[in-house]
């Protein structure tokens, strides 16, 4: 079975601006991949090319084996844009019904009820969009993206308008989707969110992938912190495997050891190191 999303040497130019410079990225079946990067790094452009909203200048992007933007590719994905809106006069149920018809979903009322329950909007089934809070509309957007049980879910900043409870709802939802084998490409500024739910993370800067790997791989060891009778000091350039040796050496030199802590960088630190403090 082809990967849910396979991007090879992808380039996008807007006039003289190179938004993407040869990006390679794969979202495997059932994998949850996070995209990180400062504003203008090319994250949204990448997601939009995958969704068929923007045409690539060069390279290849395939959704479930089909060229991005083609009908089979669009039939295989669900998409939540960073900035989106539904007509204010539609109710939540009508929005989902419209997208069911557009997606060719045969799920009917049962699917709509299930999706609304999934995003905690069952009570708002008949509420019009213009009467919803930003967070409710955002959750409705996620439900809309899930119409027709897509193989690949493209989420561009899905929690930007949500409060902490709403973010937790989305996080749990993403974990549930992963359990069901749905592949997700998640573009988010919230590192903690990415760290908690993603299997794989790619950090973009200036249209290039500057770091990629699992959150654990990206969280590099930074050394070991040793607490002795002389105080606390950090030994850099060592890992967990070096701990017995460090303790033995300290004891041999007559110090009393009270505690040892292996230091690892957080994803945030790795991210800041990768982007060099760039914000836009």
């Amino acid at each position: 079975m082809p990967d849910a999303l396979a991007v090879r040497n992808l380039e996008k130019r807007y006039g003289s601006v190179r938004a993407l410079r040869g990006v390679d990225l794969t979202v495997e079946e059932g994998q949850l991949v996070g995209l990180l990067g400062p504003n203008g790094a090319g994250k949204s452009t990448l997601v939009k090319i995958a969704a068929g909203l923007v045409r690539a200048s060069a390279g290849d992007a395939r959704v479930a084996g089909a060229r991005a933007g083609s009908r089979p590719a669009r039939a295989a994905l669900g998409y939540l844009a960073e900035l989106f809106r539904f007509p204010g006069w539609y109710t939540a149920d009508e929005v989902l019904e419209l997208h069911q018809r557009l997606a060719g979903s045969r799920g009917g009322a049962a699917e709509r009820a299930r999706l609304l329950e999934l995003v905690a909007l069952s009570e708002a089934r008949d509420r019009r969009v213009d009467g919803m809070s930003k967070g409710m509309a955002q959750r409705l957007g996620i439900a809309q993206a899930l119409v027709g049980e897509p193989r690949l879910l493209l989420l561009d900043e899905p929690t930007s308008a949500l409060d902490p409870v709403g973010r937790r709802t989305v996080r749990l939802l993403l974990e549930e989707l992963r359990g069901r084998g749905v592949s997700v490409l998640l573009n988010s500024h919230l590192l903690s969110e990415i760290e908690l739910v993603c299997d794989h993370v790619a950090i973009l800067l200036g249209g290039e992938v500057v770091a990629a790997g699992s959150p654990q791989q990206l969280a590099q060891p930074r050394g070991v912190e040793l607490e002795t009778d002389e105080g606390v000091h950090t030994v850099e350039g060592v890992t967990r495997d070096d701990v017995p040796r460090l303790v033995e050496e300290a004891v041999r030199s007559g110090r009393r050891v009270y505690g040892v802590r292996v230091l690892t960088s957080t994803l945030e630190e790795t991210y800041l190191e990768a982007v060099g403090g760039e914000t836009s």
Partner: protein, 285 residues
């Protein structure tokens, strides 16, 4: 087919939900009332009206045709206003507001999406134009006991004219911002009005050059050509009387007419839609 119907329905609901639609309806009621008032006074004082020397028809026919012609211009204008406000932001405006992207990523396809939006807007506008046309015709018929020689044709041509404006506005919405598109379409409509005026001037001065400029412009903007043909149709079959070219001064006259303009209008519509689809399929959202 369900997805196409869904988009048509989406566009239709959007059209009738807009406040603009209510404004146009209020303006229409006001126009029809004033039009009835004009008919009432004109036909009540028919003996005080003298047709121009070169118009060889009876006074009632002249007055009835003149009033119907003016009503047709107002109908076209109101139809164009409705068409522009329903479609000026279908692509650019909706994309800017984030309404379009969730629809475009669905398997329905951009061409189908645009054609379905066209069908929705064209349906609303043509129904509106036909309703106003027949209402004004009824007012003149019942008040002044005068009926056009061709009852259906002029209404259909006015509706087709407005449908062309819908297509042009959709094309504009792909390449322009909503505001720029609205201005551009109203300027095109104004240019059509000028073409009609040029026709009147050209015939008054018997200037071949001015008449040619008017004809070329009417073909370049076929909604104007169709309007002129529709003006011709309301008098061409008047029983027992010689048909005459209705001249409404600044509102043009029935100078361009016949099957050439009708066929060209359909070809023009197809070309405008094809251009809109081509531009939309290449546009980044």
């Amino acid at each position: 087919m369900s997805s196409v119907a869904a988009i048509v329905e989406y566009g239709f609901r959007e059209a009738v939900r807009r406040k603009m639609f209510a404004v146009v309806l209020v303006l229409t009621v006001l126009f029809l009332f004033l039009f009835w008032l004009a008919n009432h006074f004109v036909f009540a004082q028919l003996d005080q009206i003298t047709p121009p020397a070169d118009v060889h028809v009876d006074t009632r026919t002249f007055a009835g045709a003149f009033l119907t012609g003016l009503a047709m211009f107002a109908t076209l204008f109101l139809g164009v206003v409705l068409a522009v406000f329903l479609t000026l932001g279908v692509v650019g405006g909706d994309a800017e507001r984030g309404l379009l992207q969730p629809l475009v990523v669905r398997p329905v396809g951009r061409a189908t999406l645009l054609l379905a939006r066209f069908a929705g807007a064209a349906g609303v506008c043509s129904l509106y134009v036909l309703a106003v046309y027949f209402a004004s015709m009824l007012i003149t018929g019942l008040t002044g006991h005068w009926w056009p020689g061709n009852v259906v044709g002029p209404g259909v041509e006015l509706a087709l004219g407005v449908i062309i404006v819908v297509a042009l506005s959709l094309l504009g919405s792909v390449v322009l911002t909503s505001t720029a598109n609205g201005i551009a379409i109203f300027m095109l409509f104004g240019a059509g009005l000028v073409a009609g005026l040029l026709g009147s001037i050209g015939h008054a001065l018997n200037s071949h050059a001015v008449k040619s400029a008017s004809t070329v412009t009417s073909y370049a903007l076929p909604f104007e050509g169709l309007y002129q043909d529709a003006l011709r149709l309301i008098t061409q079959d008047t029983t027992g009387l010689t048909a005459f070219v209705l001249q409404l001064g600044p509102f043009g006259g029935g100078y361009v007419h016949g099957w050439t303009i009708r066929v060209w209008a359909v070809v023009y519509l197809v070309l405008a839609l094809a251009a809109a689809i081509g531009a939309f399929s290449r546009r980044n959202l």
